[in-house]
Symmetry: none
Subunit: 225 residues, 2 copies
DNA sequence: CACAATGTGAACGGCGTGTGAAACGGCGTC
DNA sequence: GACGCCGTTTCACACGCCGTTCACATTGTG
């Protein structure tokens, strides 16, 4: 119900308005980002759609304003015409997605839906996924490639922490601090045993997801470069 | 820098190939995700571009495969035609961005650039770079001109220290103190052996990056004067 | 040419890690 | 309160990597 988009400019492009209305999205148009706070809904803006068609310079300014707020407006969809594609370069941080106008109404719907899904996932991750691994944080269930894993509490916590930072290496010391707690005082070999059990439960096929870095620690998966 | 994209299907759409070639992106086409590991570059795939135009069902299957790997392929750009936009619904997790074909070559360029930028900044690049050399301090990965190096702990530490001060010459004594630790007491020739192994692993092409200064010590790279 | 410094190959051995099993401790049941 | 179960921690031992050292070859320098 409280889907409220910010639109630029005011008045917005007719085809944009038409599609939003048909899709059931509410919107508010503006020409200046400064006075946005006055009309901002309590739940915050759902996102922004900025058309750079008419006044590109001002559109970029609006984007910057929207991004500079205490709570940046996300997602931000940019509408450009074909000749403006080069302008996107070196401005990657100012928008989340873009679309070439004139556009297909269904494309706008699809992009908005996908953008909302993406930010929704980012803000409140109730599941952590990495490759074949999937951790449901609400139900404490874990599975690899569809097969559920019967993990104990500590095993789950360790795997969750590793999967939250894929590719990053953690020393046993760090793992003890972050997973077991700062007040924990015990042997570092405890980590080894839990890693061993995790590998066993991951199965031979996925055991290598947790890698050992000799005289350093452990990491889950690999990040490229 | 080896930018290597995975393309589906094989052969890929001609306009896609043409644009990628013109933009200077390397690519590999495939019809099955299973045999991808055989041709995967050492540095991993840069991303994937899946065309759902010809065979939508198989395209979705490919997307799932690419996402379920131990190292998920990211970013994944989906190519659809206008009538397939509805199929995107409820499949948000299978792609990062989509584009309607036929497409404007500049749009493809812009989307790829923005996608690469996004995934690139997603992981905070805590890396040391010097020339073709690149050290990821978080994952303890090292590579020269795209090829990963399989370094041991001490080799990595030594290379990291040298790369942190490019062009500067260090005596064996200094290296022992700074890399091995101040309390270390052992023969200085240990450094020589590690330098030798580093040179070997750097490959003949880059072995000269570590230079010997007779009766002084070692340095990495050239000091510019 | 002589000597020193460095490169090279190989071998030793310590130490980090994997592995199996036992001990510990909390918690619920009888 | 005694017992047993289960998750966790600790211990002991074996294995193999890899850091270190040595002997010898090669290169460079006065």
């Amino acid at each position: 119900m409280t889907e409220q988009f910010v639109l630029f400019p005011d008045p917005p492009p007719p085809d944009l308005v038409r599609t939003l209305d048909l899709s059931g999205y509410a919107w508010t148009a503006t020409n200046t980002a400064t006075d946005l706070s006055d009309v901002e809904p309590d739940s915050g803006w759902t996102g922004a759609i900025v058309s750079a068609d008419a006044d590109p310079e001002k559109a970029w300014a609006i984007c910057r304003e929207l991004r500079k707020r205490d709570v940046p407006v996300e997602p931000l969809l940019l509408l450009v015409n074909g000749s403006q594609l080069e302008e996107l370069q070196a401005r990657d941080e100012l928008f989340d997605d873009f679309m070439i106008s004139p556009f297909h109404p269904r494309e706008l719907e699809a992009r908005l839906r996908h953008l909302l899904w993406r930010v929704g996932r980012g803000v409140r991750p109730d599941v952590i996924e990495y490759g074949p691994l999937s951790l449901n944080l609400e139900t404490y269930q874990a599975q690899v490639s569809g097969h559920p894993l019967d993990l104990t509490f500590m095993e789950y916590e360790l795997l969750k922490f590793l999967a939250s930072h894929p590719g990053k290496v953690f020393t046993r010391e760090t793992l003890l601090n972050r997973v077991w707690g700062y007040e924990y005082y015990g042997g570092a070999r405890t980590v080894d045993v839990h890693v061993r059990r995790l590998r066993a439960k991951l199965g031979e096929e996925h055991a290598h997801m947790i890698q050992t870095l000799r005289s350093v620690g452990y990491k889950l998966g690999q990040s490229r470069w």
